[in-house]
Amino acid sequence: MSGAFRIPGAGRLKQAKTARFSFDGQAYAGVEGDTLASALLANGVHLVGRSFKYHRPRGFLSAGAEEPNALVQIARDDARKTPNVRATVQELYDGLAAQSQNRWPSLAFDVGAVNDIASPFFSAGFYYKTFMWPKAAWKSLYEPKIRAAAGLGVSPDRPDPDHYAARFAHCDVLVLGGGAAGIAAALAAAETGASVMLADEQAEFGGSLRFETGARIDGQDGFGWAQGAIAKLKAMDNVRVLSRTTAFGYYAQNFVGLVERVSDHLQNPGRELARERLWQVRAKRVVLATGAIERHMVFADNDRPGIMLASAARTYLNHYGVAVGKNVGVYTANDSAYAAAIDLKKAGVNIAAIVDLRDNPTGPVIDEARALGIEINFGRAVVRAGGKFRVTSMTVQPKNGGGERTIPVDAVLMSAGWTPSVHLFSQSRGKVAFNDETKRFVPGTYAQDCVSVGACNGTDGLAATVDEAYAAGAKAAKDAGAKAAKGTKPKVDAGESWSRGMLGAAPGAGPDTTVKAFVDFQNDVTAKDIRQAVHEGMHSIEHVKRFTTNGMATDQGKTSNMHGLAIAAETLGKPIPQVGLTTFRAPYTPVTFGSIVGHARGPLFDPTRRTAIHPWAEAQGAVFEDVGQWKRAWYFPKGGEDMHAAVDRECVGVRKTAGLFDASTLGKIEVVGPDAAKFMELLYTNPWEKLEPGRCRYGIMLREDGFIYDDGVVGRLAPDRFHVTTTTGGAPRVMNHMEDYLQTEFPHLNVWLSSITEQWAVIAVQGPKSRNIIAPLVEGIDMSDEALPHMSVREGKICGVPTRLFRMSFTGERGFEVNVPADYGQAVWEALWAEGQKHGAVAYGTETMHVLRAEKGYIIVGQDTDGTVTPNDAGLDWAVGKKKTDFVGIRGLARPDLVAKGRKQLVGLKTKDTKVVLEEGAQIVADPKQSIPMKMIGHVTSSYWSENCGRSIALALVAGGRDRMGETLYVPMPNGVIEVEVTGMVFFDEKGERLNG
């Protein structure tokens, strides 16, 4: 048995397959094909949640994606906990475990419900008004409390073990919505041979045909026709049919985002199935067939469990075979609720009464209801509902006042009319237009190649819908380039038509200010709140929305926006279009982070770049650091050394004998061509024309504004060939910068640029023994100081493989950088390492490299400069060609601010206490006794312990720094003020003798 409220013979589910599930620990049975909502209703469970603000008991409002109330938490295991699952959308599987949300300690007894009694304090704009003062209380008191109280559900606290797939797709015609309209459009488009995609958010296609028992198409009942048509479409090679797939976002140029729920409905999805799949579809034409959403009636206590949309009750009956009550009342302002009453009555459910706000409506459904013996009351309103955890009665009154009558019920079906689902149309930047006659917003001006059909276009009646959709599908295919259709249009034999309804508050919604007549169920916004917002001066709907939070919950006001707008318009005394509709934004329904992230997480979030020498460093136990996407060896600890000890040993080792360093990550660009030197003249501050082949120069690159952009050593291999090095992090932007100028400003220059960063592995060998280590392995290069002086480059062979051998130094020691093709990088490194062992050489990492260069006052662009530093500021004026008439940045350097006195200049700092190492980024002041806030005159850019100097060393940018040599400055820190002396930037071997040592 799958529930006492399951009606034998009703609905389309096969009773044979039982699915056991639990809700708040209580065991229930449902049927395969149920949603969690239909299965709970079959068991007579209506109370499923507590509301957001007032913690009021809530049940099911709808049977679909618009559900504002029935949000539950579903946990498959500790890591798979999904909050805010709409029970009306979640398909049942055997073993499903759901929990109610937003209640403590239990659903029936919820402490937070005191908010309901205290509700005068929680009126519109409550958050803005209450938590304004004192300001300091925000951080300590208000925010934590609000956050704790405000959560709907609990997010999981473990990494998501599921995986999420992603697909890109292109098609001629994308049809969104798989009801009668969408299916008809897809059929018409598919018959032309065009490539078609059809998506619907439900597990089964048919849309409102799921509940519309009156529909007959091509001689079949509507739902049966839909299944046949879908089977036909699925069999066609040019059609892709996606169920359980929500189009959540409509972006520029017919780019639509869809999420397919692949396995959330399965009992044991298995690891190979993705949980969800993100489809990014580019369509030549889009057909919007998104239907309409029924509105509730706004009256006092309209949120009691058991009060729901008429179409929802009809869906539960006609699709799931579930009666939502035994004694059901109906409150309506249009015809469609009559059909629900008729269906339920025919299924054996007592209809207590139909209350119709209209005065004397006529029509076949009204006649039929009357013929079935249902009591009908025209011109009356339900002014309040009774009951707390379940509706127990509805109180009826003539709409213009008069005697009340209370009718016992266990469910109330409501219908205030239907709102066209223009969400995706609005997202496409289309402009909606208000139809004054039918009181609804429908698509007006289109911004993209799309068309709306059926209920979302304001088209009433099944026959008109199918006609319109079929024609639109054929036209969309033709516009996308397909041939004319040769199919046959589905013939509608019978259909239902949803007539108009009402917008805004019904008589039972106040003006009494204690009345809670809900407009937005999920955010607990009442008719009173909206009126109050207008009275307090919110005259635009955008302001009303933010002040009351109407329509701002996870359901985005699918049922509430139009009511809210109408109440605001009425209070303002303005027509609805003048108050305006809020803009719809993506996503249409909530989308998981997982589906958006897809596979781009963990190691796949960003590429990891490793050098050719990486495996050797790893085997040596190197500790790595991330530099951009690169993994770089940071230091090589030996025998339990900490970082400090390892770096001290490496630093001393390099200067004493020699060290090997993997410099492969340095950016490298080859500048080649007859005009290569001219190009270099324009891109760097230095002169290049006269640099002899075989020699190197330290180059500085500026932006046009005169600030340092990058630096590096450049070797001239031949008159028409430069080997340029850049900083590790700067390689891509330097290449972009060069290409930009070459392609757009200097296209007359005959130059080619190639990124060669990954072609060459670079092994720096530095230290007094460096030549002794390299020389035995080199062929064809004279390694003498005369033949290969400091700052020169030669091509030859090392270990039998080609090399570009640079004599250069970033340590101040005699040094070389051995470039070899990356494939030979590790082999050459190992050969050099073996030679180095004979001399006691060390391997060193980036930390030691940083310390050694700082001992020599060599800057690192991006550490000692920050995009506001000129060559002069950095003490590098010597590298700017004074006779040059043009280079990028030449004019920027002459700007008044850049030549003004008192600019921050790079200097050295020595702490008075030699053992104290300054913090990088620490601020510098001239007078530590001044009052706070102190005038800061600079900051520390680099700071290290230097074992070679036996003291700490630092570089800093200080205002007028070079005029302050010998001055004492101060670095205020939380534990006291540190005294420093301003010095030159070179701390070790000031004369530079060791370059040839």
Binding site: E704, E739, D740, Q743, A894
Partner: protein, 98 residues
């Protein structure tokens, strides 16, 4: 995601392959070192930021790597046309009344 037609590849490709490179048709002076402060300010700092039609540079970064120019409407985000670097500003735009 926008589709952008690269005038070199002669193909519409997704925006992911491209990088915007700022306003187009701002020429660097051949005698930039001799420019006045005002002229340099106009060249380097001042951009038009229009509401409507903008001429801008794009680079087909993950394609042919060429820089080119585009005419785009900043209100609708629609590309009106693209053309090669060095070509003059189009006198007449397709589909734009003026």
């Amino acid at each position: 995601m926008l589709l952008i037609r690269c005038p070199y590849c002669e193909e519409e490709r997704p925006e992911l392959e491209f990088r915007n490179a700022g306003e187009a048709h701002i020429a660097r002076s051949a005698n930039i070192a001799g420019e006045s402060d005002d002229d340099f300010e106009k060249f380097f700092f001042i951009r038009s930021n229009p509401k409507g039609v903008i001429h801008e540079r794009w680079r087909h970064m993950h394609g042919c790597a060429r820089f080119f120019n585009a005419v785009r409407d900043t209100v609708t985000d629609k590309f009106i046309m693209t053309y090669k670097a060095g070509e003059p500003k189009p006198a007449k735009l397709p589909g734009v009344a003026k």
